[in-house]
C-alpha cells in the first residue's frame, strides 16, 4: 500500500468516529455475546462427562451427535422436548395474545381517549413488570391453592369454604393468567409509544374520504401500528418461552413441564448435553420468530416518523362510556398491582402462615430483632444486617448496571444509526439484540469459565462485583440498544454536522449535544436495566459470593427455607424500591430531552 493510500485510509477512519466506535463495540460485544453461543454449540456436539453413563467407551470432548439424537429422536424426546415445547408454545401464544391485547387496549384507552386519571394509570400500568414475575404466581397460590399441596388454607377457601379445582389452582390456566398480567406491560409500553406518535391528520384524511370510525381504525390506524404491534408480539413471545419462575411454581404440583423447566432441570443435573441442545432449540425458535416478524412487516421498520411539524393527536371522546372505562381500568390495575402487594404484605405480618385471624398479626418480621425462633432467629427486615447489606448490594448492582448499560446502549445506538446502511451497523444491531434470546442460566454458567482467566489488561473477573455488572449489562443490552437507537433516530444528523463544521470534536459533541438530546431515551434504557437487574436471579446465581449477595438471592433462600414472612417482606421492599426508582427516573427525565423541548 502506498503512503497516500494509507493516509487516505487513516483520514477516512478519523472522519467516521461512529465506525471506530462501532467496530470496537462489535468486537467486545461479539466476544461477550457470541463466545457463550459458540461454546453452547460446541458442547452440544461433543461428549460431556455426564454422558459417560451412556457412552462408556467415549472420550470426553470428542465429536458426537448423541445429544441431538437423544433429544430429537430418542425415547425421551417426547418428555424432554416435544411435550414441554408444545406446552411452552401454547403458553407463549396464549399469553402473547392476551397480554398484547390487554396492553394495546390499555394503551389505547390511556393515550387516545379522554379517560380520566391518565397520569396515574400511565404510571401504574407498568408496575406489574417491576415486580418479579413470580410474585403474581405466589399471590395466586395464596389465593387459590387447594388441598392438593396441603398446608395452610388458601384465602379463597378461607373465606368461601370451597376448594378450587386443580385446573384453576395449578398448571396451564393460572400460568397463562399470571404471565399475561405480568407481561402485558411490554405490549403497553410499545403500543403507547406508537399510538402517541400517530398523527391525527392521517386519520382525518380518512374521514374526509368518507370512512367511518371503524373503517378508519381498521384501514389506517391499525396498519400504521403494525410495526410496533409486531415488535410487541415477538418480544413477548420470546420472553415467555424462556421464562422460568412462574411455570415452575404453578406447574410442578400437576407435573406441567415447560421448556424452561426442562432446561433448568438438565443444567441442575449437570447434563449439559441435554441442556444445551434444548437451549439451542429455544434460540432457534426465537430467531425464527424474529425472522417471521421481519418478513411479514417487510421493509416497514416504522411508520411513525417524527416530522417535527404539523402534529396533532386528538382524543376520542368516550361519552357515556367514559366512567365505565375509567373504573374498568382502575379495577384492573388494582387487581394486578395492589392485590399481589397486599397479599405479600399480609403474609409478612402473620406469625403462623395461613392463619388469617387478627391475633396472628405482628410487625416482628419488619422491625423485630429475631426472637421468634421458627425463622432460625432471623431478625426483622429493618434490623437484619443480612437484608440491609443485600439490599445495598442489589441497589449497587442495579445502579452500576443501569449506568453503564445506558451509556453503552447509547453508544451502540449512535454507531448503528450513524452507520446505517453499512454491514457493520447491521451486525452490531444484531449482536446487541442477541442476548435477549439466550437462557440466563446458561449464560451464567459459561461466564464462570470465560472470566476465570485474564484477558490482556483485564484481570480475571470471577468472584468480583464487576462480573455481576458485566453479565447484567450484556443481558440487558437488547433493551438499551433499542432505546439508544430510537433516541438517536430522533436526532437529525445536521445537528451534529453543524458542530463538526464549527470545529467541535467528537467527545465534546457527544457530551454537550448528543447525550443531552437523547437524555430521556438514555434514562428509559437505564431504568429498564435497573428494574431487571434488581429482579434478576438466574443470571447471577452461580456468580454471586456471600459478600456480593443480592436481595433476590436472599429471597431465593428464604423461599427454600419456607420463611414466608421474610420472603413476603423482602419482596415487598424490593418492589417498593423499584417503583420509587422508576418514579424518580421519570421525574428526572421528564425535565430534559427532546420531548420536553418540543413541548416547551
Amino acid at each position: 500500500m502506498s503512503k497516500s493510500q494509507l493516509t487516505y485510509f487513516y483520514y477516512k477512519l478519523v472522519n467516521r468516529p461512529h465506525l471506530v466506535l462501532g467496530s470496537v463495540c462489535l468486537l467486545i460485544l461479539g466476544f461477550l455475546v457470541l463466545t457463550p453461543l459458540l461454546e453452547i454449540i460446541k458442547d452440544s456436539l461433543s461428549v460431556q462427562s455426564y454422558d459417560i453413563a451412556y457412552l462408556p467407551e467415549a472420550d470426553i470432548g470428542e465429536f458426537t451427535l448423541f445429544h441431538y439424537e437423544r433429544v430429537f429422536t430418542g425415547p425421551l424426546s417426547k418428555a424432554l422436548l416435544i411435550n414441554p415445547l408444545l406446552n411452552s408454545i401454547g403458553i407463549g401464544i396464549c399469553v402473547t395474545l392476551i397480554g398484547v391485547s390487554i396492553g394495546t387496549i390499555l394503551a389505547w384507552l390511556i393515550v387516545r381517549t379522554n379517560i380520566r386519571y391518565k397520569g396515574v394509570f400511565g404510571t401504574l400500568a407498568v408496575v406489574p413488570y417491576m415486580m418479579p414475575s413470580w410474585v403474581l404466581a405466589l399471590a395466586w397460590l395464596s389465593l387459590f391453592k387447594n388441598d392438593r399441596i396441603g398446608g395452610a388454607e388458601g384465602i379463597f377457601t378461607y373465606f368461601f369454604g370451597i376448594l378450587p379445582p386443580n385446573w384453576i389452582s395449578y398448571g396451564f390456566f393460572p400460568i397463562v393468567v399470571c404471565l399475561s398480567l405480568h407481561y402485558y406491560a411490554y405490549g403497553y409500553l410499545l403500543m403507547s409509544g406508537a399510538l402517541a406518535s400517530v398523527d391525527s391528520e392521517l386519520e382525518d384524511a380518512g374521514a374526509i374520504c368518507g370512512m367511518n370510525r371503524r373503517q378508519r381504525m381498521l384501514r389506517i390506524t391499525i396498519p400504521l401500528l403494525l410495526p410496533a404491534l409486531g415488535s410487541a408480539i415477538v418480544l413477548t413471545f420470546i420472553r415467555i418461552l424462556g421464562t422460568f419462575g412462574t411455570p415452575a411454581l404453578l406447574g410442578l404440583p400437576v407435573r406441567f413441564y415447560t421448556f424452561s423447566t426442562q432446561i433448568y432441570a438438565s443444567l441442575n443435573a449437570s447434563n449439559n448435553g441435554d441442556a444445551y441442545v434444548l437451549a439451542l432449540v429455544l434460540i432457534a425458535t426465537a430467531i425464527t420468530c424474529i425472522w417471521i416478524n421481519g418478513r411479514v412487516l417487510g421493509v416497514r421498520k416504522s411508520f411513525v416518523t417524527l416530522t417535527g411539524k404539523g402534529f396533532r393527536s386528538r382524543e376520542i371522546d368516550l361519552g357515556a362510556w367514559r366512567w365505565v372505562a375509567t373504573s374498568g381500568v382502575a379495577l384492573f390495575l388494582a387487581a394486578t398491582v395492589f392485590l399481589p402487594l397486599m397479599i405479600l404484605l399480609w403474609e409478612s405480618l402473620l406469625i403462623v402462615p395461613g392463619d388469617y385471624h387478627l391475633e396472628n398479626f405482628t410487625l416482628e418480621y419488619w422491625i423485630g430483632d429475631g426472637s421468634i425462633d421458627e425463622t432460625y432467629g432471623e431478625p426483622g427486615v429493618f434490623q437484619s444486617d443480612n437484608i440491609l447489606s443485600s439490599l445495598w448490594n442489589s441497589i449497587k448492582l442495579g445502579l452500576s448496571a443501569a449506568f453503564f448499560n445506558g451509556i453503552i446502549g447509547l453508544l451502540v445506538g449512535y454507531a448503528v444509526v450513524r452507520g446505517r446502511g453499512h454491514l457493520l451497523s447491521k451486525w452490531l444491531e444484531g449482536v446487541a439484540f442477541a442476548p435477549y434470546i439466550f437462557p440466563s442460566i446458561a449464560f451464567g454458567a459459561i461466564y464462570i469459565g470465560m472470566f476465570s482467566t485474564s484477558w490482556g489488561p483485564v484481570p480475571a473477573l470471577y468472584g468480583t462485583f464487576t462480573i455481576l455488572v458485566l453479565i447484567t449489562v450484556v443481558k440487558n443490552l437488547p433493551f438499551t440498544s433499542r432505546t439508544g437507537i430510537a433516541a438517536m433516530l430522533q436526532i437529525d444528523k445536521s445537528i451534529e454536522e453543524t458542530a463538526r463544521v464549527q470545529g467541535i470534536r467528537w467527545i465534546k459533541r457527544m457530551v454537550r449535544i448528543v447525550i443531552p438530546l437523547s437524555f430521556s431515551g438514555l434514562v428509559s434504557g437505564m431504568l429498564l436495566t435497573f428494574i431487571t437487574a434488581m429482579r434478576e436471579l438466574s443470571l447471577i446465581i452461580l456468580l454471586i459470593s456471600p459478600s456480593n449477595m443480592v436481595l433476590t438471592g436472599l429471597l431465593f433462600n428464604y423461599n427454600e427455607q419456607d420463611m414466608s414472612q421474610h420472603a413476603g417482606a423482602v419482596t415487598l421492599l424490593l418492589t417498593v424500591i423499584i417503583i420509587t426508582g422508576s418514579i424518580l427516573a421519570r421525574m428526572v427525565s421528564g425535565g430534559f430531552g427532546l420531548s420536553a423541548l418540543k413541548n416547551g
Binding site: L65, D147, G151, D373, I448, G449, Q561
Partner: protein
C-alpha cells in the same frame, strides 16, 4: 454409530449385577477404585497443607489452630442452610478466623466447585454436601476434593462413616403422616400400599430432579429390587406384574407412584407443612427428610413417622464434608471440620437441653447444634441421641451405594423424566 447408550434391554443387564456386589462395594468403598494421581500443583499444596498422603502420623492440633488463625478465614460451600447459623458460634470459639458460608443447595455446590476448579479458580476451603455418587466419583475420585478427618476423632467415628469420605451428618428420608387425621397410628404397614387408589394424589415428595436427598432415596429403593418384590408378594400374595418397559420391582414402585399422581414439591418445608399442619381435613402423606420432625416443636406440626414399614422405613442420606483442592486456607478448613463434628468434650453422658443452639449445649455440640434433632445423626459413636431420637435406631434402614448412584444416575433420571411426564 452411537446406539450403545440406551437400548431398553441394556438397562437391566448391567444393573442386575449390582445388588450382588452391593455389599462388597459398600464395605470396601475406599479401596474399590484406583484414584488417578493428583496433579503436581495439587501435590505441592497437599504437601504444604499436610493433607492426603502427606498427613503427619501425629497431628499437632495446637499448631494447626495457630496456623488457621494466621490464615484468618475459612470459606465453605454447603448444601445446607443451617451452616450459616454457625458463623457466630464459630467466631466465639475461633475469634481470629472468619467463617464465610456460600449456601448453594446440593446441585449448585457441586456445579460451582467443578466449574471453578475447571477454570483454575480455587476459592473454596470446605465443601459439604450430599449425593454420594457425585461427591465421591465425580469429585473425590477426580481430585477435586481431599478427605480429611481430624485425628482425635478417628477412633470415635466408625470406618464406614469416614472412608472414602468423612460424613458430617447422616440424615434420612422417611414417610410422615398426620397424627390428627390418622388417630389410630400409621395408615400403612407395607410400602406398596402407597400405590393404591385410596392414596391417589394424597402422597407428596420433593422433586428428585432438584433435591439431592430425595433422588438418593429414590435410588435406594431402586437398588433393592428383590426386597421390593418380596415385600409386594408379602402384601398381595402374588408375584408383582411389571408395567411395560419397566425393568424390575424397584423401578416399578416409582412408576406406580407416579401413575398414582404423587404430588411433587419444590420445597421440603412446604412438604412437611402439607402433611403436618394442624386442622387439615385431608392432609397428605409425605416422603420427606426426617429432620423436619423437629418442626413439630417449632411450628406446631403434628407429623408422625411411619416407623414400621415393610420392607424399609428409613432411607439413609449422608452429607459429606471435605477439603477442596488447593484450598486457600487449609488449616482453617481442618479446624472447621473438627468444629462441625462437635466438641471433644462431648460424650454419651453429656447433659444436653433444648434449645440446643444456645448456652452450654451449644458449647458442647458446636457445629452439631443446628442439626441436633431426631432426624439427624452424628457419625460419631460417642454422641448422645437427641430427644425423641430413639426412633432412629428402631427403624429398618437401607443405603444406596455411591458407585450405583454415579453409574445409574443418568438412567434413573431418564426414567423419572419419562414417567413423570405421562
Amino acid at each position: 454409530m452411537m446406539e450403545i447408550y440406551m437400548k431398553n434391554d441394556s438397562w437391566f443387564i448391567c444393573r442386575r449385577f449390582y445388588p450382588v456386589v452391593f455389599l462388597v462395594f459398600f464395605l470396601s468403598l475406599g479401596s474399590a477404585f484406583a484414584k488417578p494421581e493428583p496433579p503436581p500443583e495439587m501435590q505441592a499444596w497437599l504437601k504444604k497443607a499436610e493433607l492426603g498422603p502427606y498427613e503427619p502420623i501425629k497431628e499437632n492440633w495446637d499448631a494447626i489452630v495457630k496456623k488457621a488463625t494466621e490464615e484468618g478465614e475459612v470459606i465453605v460451600y454447603t448444601s445446607s442452610g443451617r451452616i450459616q447459623k454457625l458463623v457466630k458460634p464459630f467466631a466465639k470459639f475461633y475469634p481470629g478466623i472468619k467463617l464465610t458460608v456460600h449456601d448453594l443447595g446440593s446441585t449448585k455446590s457441586v456445579v460451582k466447585t467443578k466449574r471453578e476448579q475447571q477454570a483454575g479458580i480455587y476459592n473454596a476451603d470446605v465443601v459439604t454436601t450430599g449425593n454420594s455418587g457425585q461427591v465421591i466419583h465425580e469429585m473425590l475420585n477426580k481430585n477435586l476434593l481431599v478427605n480429611y478427618v481430624p485425628h482425635h476423632f478417628k477412633s470415635r467415628i466408625p470406618r464406614e462413616y469416614r472412608e472414602p469420605l468423612l460424613i458430617r451428618v447422616n440424615e434420612a428420608v422417611v414417610f410422615f403422616y398426620n397424627m390428627e387425621a390418622f388417630t389410630n397410628g400409621s395408615p400403612v404397614t407395607n410400602i406398596w400400599e402407597f400405590t393404591e387408589s385410596r392414596f391417589k394424589g394424597r402422597v407428596g415428595m420433593k422433586n428428585p430432579m432438584s433435591s439431592g436427598s430425595t433422588l438418593m432415596a429414590v435410588m435406594t429403593l431402586i437398588q433393592h429390587p428383590e426386597e421390593m418384590a418380596a415385600a409386594y408378594k408379602r402384601y398381595k400374595g402374588v408375584d408383582i406384574k411389571l408395567s411395560d418397559g419397566v425393568p424390575d420391582a424397584g423401578y416399578e414402585f416409582w412408576a406406580r407412584m407416579l401413575k398414582n399422581d404423587i404430588v411433587i414439591f419444590k420445597s421440603g418445608s412446604k412438604l412437611a407443612a402439607a402433611s403436618g399442619k394442624k386442622g387439615q381435613k385431608k392432609p397428605l402423606l409425605a416422603f420427606a427428610n426426617m429432620t423436619y420432625i423437629a418442626r413439630n416443636d417449632s411450628k406446631g406440626f403434628v407429623n408422625a413417622i411411619v416407623q414400621d414399614l415393610d420392607p424399609v422405613a428409613k432411607l439413609l442420606y449422608p452429607t459429606f464434608t471435605a477439603i477442596a483442592r488447593q484450598a486457600p486456607h487449609p488449616n482453617a478448613a481442618k479446624v472447621f471440620t473438627a468444629f462441625v463434628l462437635g466438641s471433644t468434650k462431648l460424650n454419651k453422658n453429656s447433659k444436653l437441653s433444648k434449645p440446643y443452639t444456645k448456652g452450654a449445649s451449644s458449647d458442647l455440640l458446636l457445629g452439631l447444634a443446628p442439626y441436633f434433632d431426631p432426624g439427624t445423626r452424628s457419625p460419631r459413636n460417642d454422641v448422645p441421641s437427641p430427644e425423641g431420637g430413639e426412633v432412629w435406631d428402631e427403624m429398618q434402614e437401607w443405603h444406596v451405594d455411591s458407585y450405583f448412584m454415579w453409574k445409574q444416575g443418568a438412567r434413573i433420571r431418564d426414567f423419572w423424566i419419562q414417567h413423570s411426564s405421562m
